[in-house]
């Protein structure tokens, strides 16, 4: 097991190296010039050229690449071309809102979706099942920003329960934090609720028809024990897999949610940096994101051994 973990962790290095090279090349070969953005619309070409020179953007591509890699190996993600602040500091400022939103969304999605999927499977073919599945289809179909604006109108402007925008760190108090994170969590979480509920239902339906379930029922087990201890546990591997995929998809999902609810997270940092061609930030954030992908996948793979003792690495 430990050897497997070590192998997987070592395997992340070439993955990150490929991501790093690909991102660097894509960025630098894409049209766009941060010096032009910095100088502003009315700057003269010679001023732009001087800024480009000062920023080292005139250096050959391989020189820029090795200078970035060299700094990276010593733990330096670089400095923002625009704000002159270290990329690590900028990522640090944005990490908490994104993590809070992602974790809250996953918790919300699991707490709502798994019981929904279990109930739908248990009541398969009934009105309850159909209502839950209609909700799941809607959850897939309605874009996050539509849900976001609708909730903003109802819960913020009309009822005044939550703020329209912004993020309050948990350090400023749990209640302000909760108020700021509730609407974005629900707006972003609905699609994951739909996804996880459908997979849970499908997995549960498969398990519920197994012989051992019939045996358990014959033993006289009550519904709770039957559904949760016997059926859900055996149906959990695909559910956990889809949750893992959901976490990976969240990285894309937070971008829209952070924009709609004005949460200063990593998603918005990335978009702003892309629009301005702030190369060090884009490179730093994508490396962090790809590292997170790899770690999430590893955790999901390891969780299989807990959920299904037959799985061994």
């Amino acid at each position: 097991m430990y050897a497997y973990i070590a192998r997987r962790l070592l395997a992340t290095l070439p993955v990150m190296a490929v991501v790093g090279i690909a991102v660097f090349l894509l960025l630098h070969l894409t049209p766009g010039d941060p010096a032009v953005v910095i100088a502003g619309d009315y700057a003269r070409p010679e001023d732009i050229e001087k800024i480009r020179e000062n920023l080292g953007l005139n250096e050959p591509l391989h020189v820029q690449f090795f200078s970035w890699v060299g700094a990276l190996l010593s733990g330096d993600l670089g400095t923002s071309i625009f704000s002159n602040l270290p990329v690590a500091k900028l990522i640090g400022q944005r990490l908490e809102p994104t993590l809070a939103l992602a974790i809250a969304t996953i918790i919300f999605a699991i707490l709502v979706a798994v019981p929904m999927g279990v109930i739908a499977a248990w009541r398969a073919g009934t009105l309850t099942d159909r209502v839950i599945m209609v909700f799941a289809v809607l959850g897939f179909s309605v874009p996050v920003f539509v849900i976001g604006y609708a909730m903003m109108w109802l819960f913020s402007i009309t009822l005044g329960w939550f703020p329209v925008q912004g993020y309050k760190p948990i350090g400023e108090g749990f209640w302000p934090f909760l108020r700021s994170i509730t609407l974005p969590t629900v707006a972003l979480g609905i699609i994951y609720v739909a996804l996880i509920a459908r997979i849970t239902r499908a997995s549960m339906l498969e398990v519920l028809t197994e012989d051992y379930m019939r045996t358990a029922r014959a033993k006289g087990l009550d519904n709770n024990a039957l559904l949760i201890r016997h059926a859900l546990r055996n149906a959990s591997v695909p559910i956990v897999t889809i949750i893992g995929i959901g976490i990976a998809l969240l990285i894309g999902g937070v971008v829209v949610t952070e924009s709609v609810f004005n949460i200063p997270g990593l998603g918005r940092l990335t978009i702003d940096a892309v629009l301005r061609r702030d190369y060090p930030i884009i490179q730093g954030v994508i490396l962090i994101f790809s590292g997170a992908y790899v770690i999430v996948n590893l955790v999901i793979d390891l969780s299989y051994t807990v959920l299904d003792p037959r799985i061994r690495y």
């Binding site: 910095i38 619309d41 020179e53 625009f82 704000s83 400023e172 702003d272």
Partner: protein, 535 residues
């Protein structure tokens, strides 16, 4: 037993009382700090208003730095940091004395040598500054409070340049910072303006915080534009950047912010219906649209083809597409902004005639034979996106073969520097706009420069006569003669150069919560003089 119950009850009450604190529900100690929260038009990404011409950095400059002279709401220039000044009889020597009480945010006094260094740095970077430096023989500090500027020959724009309201505004910085290469950012933000920049609370992309500078001594005159007393009524001003217009509108309606600098035009109607929100145009100069042809390559290297654009464009069509509400735009053909002393009606007939047949005739005379026109369309800026689509149709209507190439603004700004022919990756047309404050004179308006490949702005118009007239304007001090030069220059621009086609002038309203008082009329949003009704 009763005693136990009481104790239990007390403990329970104490726990209940403590719970909100534990959960962070407590409101904490009462705070008397007053905060003005505004949604700026853009995110503050860099902090040096000389390094960049970005308007958001200029606005940041006005918060933390001060200027020697400043422009009022009638476009007149007044002393700001300067207490007294004099001009020698021959008009060659300007002597400036700083007013009392000026201090940097670190407590040091503002000295004349700081101002000399600041003007020199600005003079290397800004167009008007460079022009002023061309005419300057010597700039030196006489003592701690006095400095002189000596000219080679009389120059009519000394105070207009030093009191320039828009980018690059000549902000005064400490000597040690002002000696930084103008193409590098200053290492620190230490100004002498009415607000201090709170760097530790700056989150690029989200929030900028300014604290009231308690040491600032405002002038005694009432505030007017950038001039007069900069009296601050709030302890803090927070710029909360909200990129999504719908969210910004909801935040204003919900009272989470006090002022929104640039409400999207399609949301103006909704905001007008809200009883808690006020809307007003505070920039009387507005914004001027530019359709910029590339003067280096056919067909627009031929003056007749550029004139054809004037006949083809109908400003009303553009303004309807990009603004919609007639209250917020006006047709204005003048190059140097309607409503200013430099407005002129010489030569405007071509742009006002809306004559596609004449446009076709001029294109034929220019030898246009159906070559492909590369039109760069910036899809991420709604105004420019709409203008490009209108132009594409306008040009097709006069028989041109147009290829619209969609891209984001960042890509467009690099591509427009390309001087190669359109077939080899160059371009024929792009759109942009300039705030009125940047286009009111032949020197400030870089779009009219005829300096060619080496000195003109992207698009590279080349015309010696234009350059000569711009120089004449800069030298002239007599307002009547200046106006005559403007007329002659504008005639030349319309009849021959057509550096760009002005596709209209529009006005951006500002929205704020009712109860906010003292929002100043100016092309730049200022946050002094504003107060809030306590009720």
């Amino acid at each position: 037993m009763p005693r136990l119950l009481t104790a239990t009850r007390r403990a329970a009450l104490a726990a209940l009382a403590a719970a909100p604190m534990a959960l962070g529900l407590g409101v904490g100690p009462a705070s008397a700090e007053s905060v003005l929260r505004i949604v700026p038009h853009a995110d503050l990404k860099n902090l040096d208003p000389i390094w960049t011409t970005a308007y958001i950095t200029r606005n940041h400059g006005y918060m933390v730095y001060d200027t020697l002279f400043a422009q009022d709401d009638k476009l007149n220039i007044h002393p700001q940091m300067v207490g007294d000044y004099s001009v020698s009889d021959d008009g060659l020597v300007y002597t400036f004395t700083l007013r009392d009480g000026l201090k940097w945010h670190d407590g040091d006094p503002v000295k004349a040598e700081d101002c000399v260094a600041s003007i020199k740095r600005w003079g290397q970077k800004d167009g008007m500054g460079q022009k002023l430096m061309d005419f300057t023989k010597e700039l030196k500090a006489v003592d701690d409070k006095t400095f002189t500027l000596t000219l080679n020959e009389p120059y009519g724009l000394v105070l207009d340049s030093i009191g320039k309201i828009s980018s690059n505004t000549p902000f005064m910085m400490k000597k040690e910072h002002a000696e930084t290469d103008p193409n590098q950012q200053v290492p620190e933000v230490v100004g002498s303006g009415p607000f201090r920049f709170v760097k530790e609370e700056w989150v690029p992309g989200a929030k900028v915080v300014y604290a009231k500078n308690e040491d600032y001594v405002p002038r005694s005159e009432p505030a007017s534009g950038a001039a007069g007393g900069k009296v601050v009524h709030f302890d803090r001003v927070e710029w909360i950047y909200i990129p999504d217009p719908a969210t910004a509108m909801n935040a204003l309606i919900n009272g989470e912010v006090d002022l929104w600098e640039t409400p999207a035009v399609d949301m103006v109607q909704l905001l007008e219906q809200d009883e808690n929100v006020e809307l007003a145009v505070i920039d009387p100069l507005g914004t001027q649209g530019w359709l910029r042809p590339n003067h280096l390559h056919p067909p627009f290297d031929n003056p007749k083809a550029r004139q054809a654009l004037l006949y083809a464009v109908n400003q009303e069509v553009y303004l309807q597409a990009i603004v919609g509400d007639p209250k917020l735009y006006k047709e204005c053909a003048a190059y140097f902004i309607c409503g200013t002393p430099n407005e002129s009606d010489v030569g405007v007939e071509a742009l006002q005639s809306h004559d596609p047949e004449m446009a076709k005739q001029l294109l034929a005379e220019a030898g246009y034979k159906g070559e492909k026109i590369i039109l760069m369309q910036s899809t991420d800026i709604p105004v420019l996106n709409a203008a490009a689509l209108v132009t594409a149709q306008v040009l097709r209507d006069v028989g041109m073969d147009v290829e619209v190439q969609a891209m984001d603004w960042s890509t467009l700004t690099s591509r427009r520097a390309e001087k190669k022919s359109p077939a080899d990756g160059g371009w024929n047309i792009f759109h942009t706009y300039a705030t009125g404050a940047d286009a009111t004179s032949p020197i400030a308006n870089i779009g009219v420069s005829g300096g060619g490949v080496d000195r003109a702005w992207f698009g590279w118009p080349t015309d010696e006569k234009t350059e000569m007239l711009r120089d004449d304007f800069a030298r002239e001090a007599d307002p009547m003669k200046k106006k005559a030069i403007i007329d002659e220059l504008q005639g030349r621009l319309f009849d021959h150069v057509v550096p760009y086609v002005n596709y209209g002038q529009w006005f951006q309203p500002v929205a704020w919560r009712k109860g906010l008082k003292g929002v100043l009329v100016s092309p730049v949003p200022f946050f002094w003089n504003i107060s809030k009704d306590s009720g």
